[in-house]
Subunit: 436 residues, 2 copies
């Protein structure tokens, strides 16, 4: 039983909604057929099996007042509570409080790439567990609270497991997360240290996912919120906060161009959704923006489809160092293609050597040590500038979604001391490094 | 030639000061004899070889207006520019912009420790390179700019090297940092990835330090700012920002009790200095506070002296997993003893097993994965509560100065999956984890 065909949990229009307060969220709606369902821990449309997403009744009225209210809010994701599926008092509940990470004006990188219109890196390694996953998990936690779940869970290849474990510990949930049994020890430690139950599954990530889908449909899984399965519609909305923050940090202005990594594709679609909401609410000027997707060549189903002019994404078997992007059958791939084409963007990929080069380029120019996914976006940005698809005279934002400390292996083989010497001045002089 | 006896660089009262703008900083003064010297890249008193520290002409006037100016400032260390040795326009210069990290209300940890008066963790793992070092380096960078240095340098056992490399990259300095040649590969990668020169020294950390002192006195080192040697008086001031942030985040109030890790002891003395400044400026009420120092038993020269009632700190040979605190001959040890005794605090230590337990306790209760230094402070806090030296009915702040990702080895041997199972429900049921 695969995730997209779980028969026990699709929503039904007739189902009674629990009386939940998720702020401006009023319903779930099917992205394919538009049918609406009450808010609940469901993720697939009963009519067409399309993915469900959160529908809102967003605040109307004076945009200036809304801007002021946001600016007076906490220095984290909850400043945008009026635009997210969370109750109004969310900031008073225990949470890792992710978000409002730095938007770094990357002048040295811009000079290297020949970008003159302003280049910014949105650095999500500043989140509590050092990846953007803290954003999406934080929203899923509030949904879990609303639905009365007491255990938080997920299937993960490592990073999400840590984010869920940490968030559950802070928020006072039990956690039980599932990973392939043969992960690297570092990732296992990061997933296990928060003290929840960590279960190694004898199989690969697909086996873990399949097992989780079975567990959701079984009495054994009652009371369990799987952040990336039955809470997925809420979880995904966390990525909208990236759009809000970027616009606010640019002075309530949309970037002209943005480069976003593509794994499942969800993040890219939610950033587009966030930009559109900001325009609809009058919080930013309605100007065109171009969205670019970035993949690693070793797992490039969406960029391959984009370049071939296809609407359908053909699955690939991943083989890349950018493991956090290694989803060979991305659920939101077709939506990514649509957004890239509609906005005048593109989807591009770089090979592993280019990923490593780009990680080092970003570190050397801006002092930001990115995860491999950040190497993908920076590398793709360079490629798109060279190809003339990114206009260097316009404002460009590049996402770094994670921290280099989590993917040290990618750069370790080619990163080391310039010299090793005896502790004396003659040896240092001989090394030729004394020019300042 | 050891650091404390470098003959070529002590300050002289007659020396002409460069015309530098370091904001409210007006001079250096000797902590031992009080003699004052012009601002410059010097660190030892010519008269008594005592350590120099920054003397200020701090803002006078309405505390409410100063509070408001700070609160309207950037969400980083530069909101406190009026109280730090930096020019007023510092926030416009390229910097990693560390600081204003989360002060986490740790209710679950408080419950475990029996603290009822409010327990907070100041989590400095949220800094750009994930330790408090970003604060001190950021201040040293501004001093280097003011003195016209073009190369940033340091001696390091790893973490500082990365912080300097990253800060130099962002700020547009060349960097050349020195480490013992036999560090773990992970630390070498973190130090090297920012693209500056990284020099392995065939010797231990003392050899590296000795070499750096020679280099400062040699024409080869001209134009070089060593953040923890000739820029040390400025560098150290960065730790004052921890005091300011904690007070502001508590609602402009000092904590009753604070637990601070002790390596060289500098951080603890600067937090005390910061608290005293806040009182003198009228920014907080003048109430007593107790400062507690925390060490690892395997490197506990200061807690040993404290318990023995000594004023002198006898050097030790470090042997502990808390490597970032493993300074066997702490320069500020006597000052730490003085502050702990004067404020009614204490200096205590925990063994390596207690450090590991405390790392896990903090992760499990609050979702914060701390470096070993954070295990030391949490472990010492528990010990001090049990001993009755920390009053559980009062507000207590515990510092976490770094990130668990940097010291995975400490917890790896005892942190792993709860169970490993086949991907089916029967196997999961048999594992006995399905209670929610």
């Amino acid at each position: 039983m695969a995730v997209h065909t779980v028969a026990t949990t699709p929503a039904t229009p007739s189902q009674d909604a629990p009386a939940v307060d998720l702020g401006p969220a009023v319903a779930l709606s099917c992205r394919e057929c538009g049918e609406r369902f009450p808010l609940g821990p469901v993720f697939a449309c009963v009519s067409c099996f399309g993915p469900l997403e959160v529908a809102y009744d967003l605040p109307t009225g004076d945009p200036q007042a809304l801007r002021a209210a946001i600016e007076a809010g906490p220095d984290n994701i909850w400043r945008y509570a009026p635009l997210l599926p969370v109750p109004a008092d969310v900031a008073t509940k225990p949470s890792l409080n992710p978000g409002f990470t730095q938007l770094v004006k990357a002048d040295h990188l811009a000079a290297e790439l020949g970008v003159t219109g302003g280049l910014y890196v949105k650095d999500d390694s500043g989140n509590p567990t050092h990846s953007f996953k803290d954003r999406v998990v934080a929203i899923a936690v509030e949904a879990a609270r609303a639905f009365g779940f007491t255990t938080l869970s997920c299937s993960s290849t490592g990073n999400l497991a840590g984010a869920v474990g940490a968030a559950a510990a802070r928020a006072g949930f039990r956690s039980c997360v599932f990973i392939p049994h043969d992960l690297e020890q570092g990732k296992v430690v990061m997933a296990a240290v928060y003290g929840g139950d960590l279960v190694g599954i004898e199989g690969n990530y697909d086996d873990v996912n399949r097992f989780c889908s079975e567990l959701i449909g079984d009495p054994l899984g009652e009371g369990w919120g799987f952040v990336n399965v039955n809470l997925r519609p809420y979880y995904g909305e966390g990525s909208k906060s990236l759009a809000y923050e970027i616009a606010e940090q640019l002075g309530w202005r949309l970037p002209d161009q943005i480069v976003i990594p593509v794994a499942s594709g969800s993040q890219l679609t939610k950033i587009d959704k966030g930009f559109k909401e900001l325009i609809a609410l009058g919080l930013v000027e309605d100007r065109p923006y171009k969205i670019f997707g970035a993949q690693a060549e070793g797992c490039s189903p969406v960029s391959t489809a984009y370049k071939a002019g296809h609407d359908v994404v053909r699955p690939q078997k991943p083989d890349t160092i950018a493991k956090s992007l290694a989803i060979g059958n991305p659920a939101d791939g077709p939506y990514v293609l649509d957004i890239a084409r509609r906005t005048g963007g593109a989807v591009e990929d770089v090979d592993d050597a280019q990923v490593v080069d780009a990680i080092k380029l970003l570190a050397r120019t801006e002092g930001i040590f990115a995860e491999t996914a950040g190497g993908v976006t920076v590398g793709v940005t360079r490629k798109l500038v060279e190809a003339g698809l990114i206009d260097p005279s316009l404002t460009t934002v590049v996402l770094n979604t994670g921290d280099g400390l989590k993917t040290l292996d990618a750069v370790a083989p080619t990163t080391g001391p310039t010299a090793t010497i005896r502790p004396d001045l003659d040896a240092f002089r001989a090394a030729g490094l004394a020019t300042s």
